[in-house]
Symmetry: C2
Subunit: 125 residues, 2 copies
DNA sequence: AAATGTATTCTATATTTGTAGAATATAATT
DNA sequence: AATTATATTCTACAAATATAGAATACATTT
């Protein structure tokens, strides 16, 4: 299941905090802050969706992500690639490298990475 | 402004048709098709958001995208990269190449593309 | 133990989104 | 001219989402 925008925002704060009490998350929000009950509602919904867990400490809970940011991100990417590139990661990659306007330094960095990837693939054989 | 899921679906059909009357879009939908008025409502909303234009032909309209699919996609990517990669396309690219599990053939293809990119960059100097 | 700070749950409302019926309008067909 | 096909607008309602007040509960401080 997917997170809504508001839920995602809470997730993002939690990912950056790694673990947090309601208060800590509320503190992250810029003014005008939402009501604490709003955060509580969102936390509850995110828990129901299985993205957040918690440890009970007295009457409070210490929340922590159950899904890694990169994993959640991967899902989003897959959905975009499916929608816009006919499910082809290669097609996406080629679009991305030509359109993203990376600097020469970035491009060379990328080349190195890809070389390593290819090496790893060959080793696996 | 962003499109909602239902609006995006209509956009996708319109992108693939390039231009279309309501009927043509409706035809693209698989069974069970939505009501024609539903499509009409969505079209109107998308027009208000500025993503679609039209030419009036008698009482009908021939709709066409005002935003290219790749541009719309780029916006989505930017938003994701901003959210998950601290606004660094390079960071994203490196994550992507290591995580996307491209085939060796795809990787080599990518390398070629990037080489060309670098060449183009150098020419521009 | 009373007061205070914080969190949680329950409940509720406003807004946005998805969906479509009814009424209306125009063009093409009979 | 009447009928039919199609599209459009207006209106409406249901579901999902965003937001938060009221009531309640526990822990800490006084």
């Amino acid at each position: 299941m997917q997170l809504t925008k508001a839920e995602e925002q809470v997730m993002k704060y939690l990912w950056s905090l790694e673990k947090a009490y309601l208060k800590n998350i509320l503190d992250e929000f810029p003014e005008p802050k939402p009501a604490a009950t709003t955060i509580a509602t969102l936390l509850k919904r995110i828990i129901d969706k299985g993205f957040i867990g918690y440890k009970q400490h007295g009457s409070n809970r210490e929340y922590y992500p159950l899904v890694k940011k990169t994993d959640y991100f991967s899902l989003q990417m897959k959905s975009i690639i499916k929608d816009y590139f006919n499910n082809s990661a290669a097609q996406f990659a080629s679009f991305f490298t030509t359109e993203s306007d990376l600097s020469e330094k970035d491009l060379k960095e990328l080349q190195k990475l890809i070389s390593e990837q290819i090496k790893t693939k060959n080793k696996a054989k």
